[in-house]
């Protein structure tokens, strides 16, 4: 399978983000992985292209980290930080979920679910969309939306490709793509 996964720099030029340039996105690697379905399409198409830009114009401009703002007491800040650091092997496993076309992200706790069907059902309910059935050969072809995730190597995978336990431990964030874009993912 061809990997035309671009280096991080090009990504940032075309991607629609709200953070400041240079903030926190990790360098992505171009690696060939057998048995991994890679999402070549994501790198070129950007986050959203379906014209829901009216929501963007009322979204606040990119902001720098200001000292002491928002006014959260240090104690509470430290508690929040401790929670984030607890993710590895902890009792909770929060990941961000973005949906193409939605202005806001959400967070879910992966450990609250015990299997793929449970997770997918919850995502369908949360975002009010249909994801459809997964098949190993064809992925989510035929559905309006396809759930993908970024694993700890920085690769984007289709949800369902690996065993549930491995998914839980390696998933860093979820992105629910429009089905048309996901079609770019070839079969194994």
């Amino acid at each position: 399978m061809e990997v035309n996964y671009e280096n991080g720099l090009n990504l940032k030029a075309t991607e629609l983000r709200l953070g400041l340039p240079g903030s926190d996105e990790p360098e992505r690697q171009t690696t060939l992985r057998p048995n991994k379905r890679t999402l070549s399409e994501i790198s070129c198409s950007g986050m959203t292209d379906d014209g829901n830009d009216d929501r963007r114009q009322s979204a606040p401009p990119a902001k720098a980290q200001v000292v002491g703002w928002p006014p959260i007491r240090s104690y509470r800040k430290n508690c929040l930080q401790a929670k984030k650091d607890e993710v590895e092997g902890g009792a909770v496993r929060y990941v961000k979920v973005s949906v193409d076309g939605a202005a806001y992200l959400r967070k879910i706790d992966l450990k609250a679910y015990r299997s793929y069907p449970e997770l997918l059902k919850a995502l369908e309910k949360m975002f009010e969309l249909t994801i459809g059935e997964y098949s190993e050969r064809e992925g989510y072809n035929g559905s309006e939306y396809a759930p993908t995730y970024e694993d700890k190597d920085g690769d984007w995978m289709l949800v369902g490709d690996v065993l549930w336990e491995m998914f839980i431990s390696s998933c860093k964030r979820l992105r629910i793509m429009k089905g048309s874009e996901a079609r770019g993912m070839g079969c194994v």
């Binding site: 983000r17 709200l18 953070g19 400041l20 903030s23 926190d24 009322s58 979204a59 606040p60 401009p61 990119a62 902001k63 980290q65 200001v66 000292v67 002491g68 703002w69 928002p70 006014p71 959260i72 007491r73 240090s74 104690y75 509470r76 800040k77 508690c79 929040l80 401790a82 929670k83 009792a91 909770v92 929060y94 961000k96 202005a103 806001y104 992200l105 959400r106 967070k107 706790d109 609250a112």
Partner: protein, 586 residues
Amino acid sequence: MESSELKRSKDSVNSCESARRSSFPDEVLERVLSLLKSHRDRSSVSLVCKDWYNAERWSRTHVFIGNCYSVSPEIVARRFPRIRSVTLKGKPRFSDFNLVPENWGADIHAWLVVFAAEYPFLEELRLKRMAISDESLEFLAVSFPNFKALSLLSCDGFSTNGLAAIATHCKNLTELDIQENGIDDIGGSWLSCFPESFTTLEVLNFANLTSDINFDALEKLVGRCKSMRVLKLNRSVSLEQLQRLLVNAPQLAELGTGLFSQELTIREYEELESALSNCKNMHTLSGLWDATGIYLPALYLACTHLTFLNLSYAALQSVELAKLLAHCPQLKRLWVLDTVEDKGLEAVGLNCPLLEELRVFPADPFDDEIVHGVTEAGFVAVSFGCPRLHYVLYFCRQMTNAAVATIVQNCPDFTHFRLCIMNPGQPDYLTNEPMDEAFGAVVRTCTKLQRLSVSGLLTDLTFEYIGRYAKNLETLSVAFAGRSDWGMQCVLGGCPKLRKLEIRDCPFGNAALLSGLEKYESMRSLWMSACNVTMNGCRLLAREMPWLNVEVMKEDGSDDSQADKVYVYRSIAGPRRDAPPSVLTL
């Protein structure tokens, strides 16, 4: 007392002995005044006449000092000879947000030394934003044999060793309340320092601490302190341990749980549920770290009489909150995280008609991607269902003028309105206009307003409104707002009851600063940081007003003429002598 009687008592002071006999005897006056608890009433009383001043100072047992540098411990001791309880506040509030240098001051030790000499029978010490070392805690523990209550809120400089000293030496301790401090948590053996014979503890709050504690020692302590009514545990205490504690302390009125997440068997769950529901006096519940929907139902039966529920460390979803609130009909105060979203707040409006206070904290305040929290819709929903709401702290990412107008129409009794639109200078997201009209509506409608925090895109108009209408306002917090000096001038020229004004990142300069010359003497303090005030402006202020301390904190690398951070406060103790090099006293 009637003014004619006052006059009579005043006149009687000046007349001869026989006339004195018919005036109000001192002992009776002292006895009557000893019933006065409010320190503001007592201040008023002390101004009536010399007799009353003396009677008041001899009968006062509790002193409240809102700014530790406004007075010296010697002056306090000279005026009030019979103090048994002291409340002291130190650093400016913006130190909570790292805007005050580390070693700024507010050290308690000098006070303790004077108290040890003048108030050997001191019983209570309540500190907020003070620096306190382990040595000071040890000194405290051994200097006051009658010591009963220690409360430390947002303090720093001490470790668990200091707590060990308190536990070891304070034989009559009834209260140990350690909240939100910068504490060096070395370990949990301090709990074992309470002697086996010790049984008087009524309040124990160590939720602040992160390390494991000696559970065995805790269990025994709780078991033998039969009068314990407040117990707030830290994260290290598990659900199973909680159950064991509760079985021996069903009389608890306030409970802070430990971690609310653990694998429990059905039997263990039922035991927990039973232990919780047996706490018939419980009116306050907090802790609940990492609580998820699975075990929250164990709380349902215990929530019937709950008046204060603090869920601000539990990232609940809307459905979980709704289910819980259905069991909390008596709730008056609720603190939540914005993970509950607007739907969760709708549930608040539906289930909690008696609600008076709501605080919504952000779960992801520093995330540069927008994570869904609460919006204006949630706040509006609460206002429709909770007409008694008078205290709100609300962190959100979007707000409209119309929504705020609706909110205050529904809840006109606000005394504390703290709205934080998290992106600085953000306008009404629907109309793109400034948020002036929102706060205009607040100050016009809420005549009882005492405390206001503003945010969003604001012009000077907001401050015109505040100056004109906020007649009872005592505390005002402003950030990233205003257009010119005029804004601040309006506030200083209006707001007759203003006591605390804290401003950051606003275009207010010397003209604004100096327009408040007379005002500052009737205020506790003024804070201005990252504004347009210069050193010359501050020097002028210091020169004109000898009863004010004007302190400037310089940042590294800033222009010499700029006064980066200014802290102005009235004081009868003169300029302080313990300021670090980064703080200039003018």
